[in-house]
Symmetry: C2
């Protein structure tokens, strides 16, 4: 944890930026919630617990800065707000999301199944892949099961 903060600090300093208390608090919140996809507002509220004086604009500016430094990834799930994720060590972000259209749950698969595709893109399109994003919309196992057991009631459709 401290090691990762230190790393961010060095990344910032290498570009002439400082790891101010506000920025550090923001990074800590992101570290402590690595599993989630926090919106700027989420981050703001969590950071406020450690640094109550912080302003929302600072959070936005920090997230944008971290985004430019590729420390976090700015994402959009179509719910009208941008969400931010700490990037993994490898600096590639091989997340696959399984988004259930029924219950809204989101599962993450870290496995990378796309390497062969990327190689094909490079060869056939001359396109050098830096990152990618793969989302699947569908019905999760739980909802599939629930659905199966409800079949009796659903005789009208």
């Amino acid at each position: 944890m401290e090691a990762r903060i230190e790393k961010v600090k060095q990344q910032l300093q290498s570009q002439g930026y400082k790891l101010t208390p506000q920025r550090e608090a923001t990074v800590r919140v992101l570290l402590e919630n690595e599993e989630d996809h926090l919106s700027a507002e989420d981050v703001f509220m969590l950071v406020k617990e450690k640094a109550p004086e912080i302003g929302l604009a600072t959070v936005y500016r920090t997230l944008e800065l971290l985004s430019e430094m590729h420390v976090v990834e700015k994402m959009n799930f179509g719910d009208g707000v941008a969400r931010y994720d700490l990037r993994t060590e490898s600096n590639k972000h091989h997340h696959h999301h399984l988004i259930c259209v029924q219950c809204g749950s989101m599962t993450e698969i870290m496995e990378d199944w796309l390497i062969p595709l990327e190689e094909r893109l490079e060869k056939e399109y001359g396109f050098s892949v830096l990152d990618h994003r793969l989302d699947f919309q569908g019905i999760c196992a739980k909802c599939n099961a629930a659905r199966a057991s409800e079949t009796k009631e659903e005789t009208d459709k």
Copy 2:
């Protein structure tokens, strides 16, 4: 073209909605720009050419309605605006986007390279895929070429 309008009309009517002139004009704009990913504002401006009296709110309401009917797909590319795409006949939307981080160009690949992955998801996770989205960020062939020829000047970095 007329056939697809007619189909939308029937879809709307089956749910008790009408294909008003404004809605028809909106659908026509989407049909004529099927290759693009138009924002609501884009659609608004294009529709205005055919139906100058239309209001932006109507366009938003129409796009939302069409989205609910699964006639269009609402998408988010992370640029802060929602974009809308007519769905294909198959009701699946197998688009792959190659987004160049250098010049911002976006190429679309219609080919579906994900069928094997979807089968694997179904088997290993019990997740039934309804749709998916795959975006690659990277450097396109053109920028790659430009970059290669500029290497001489870039001796400072």
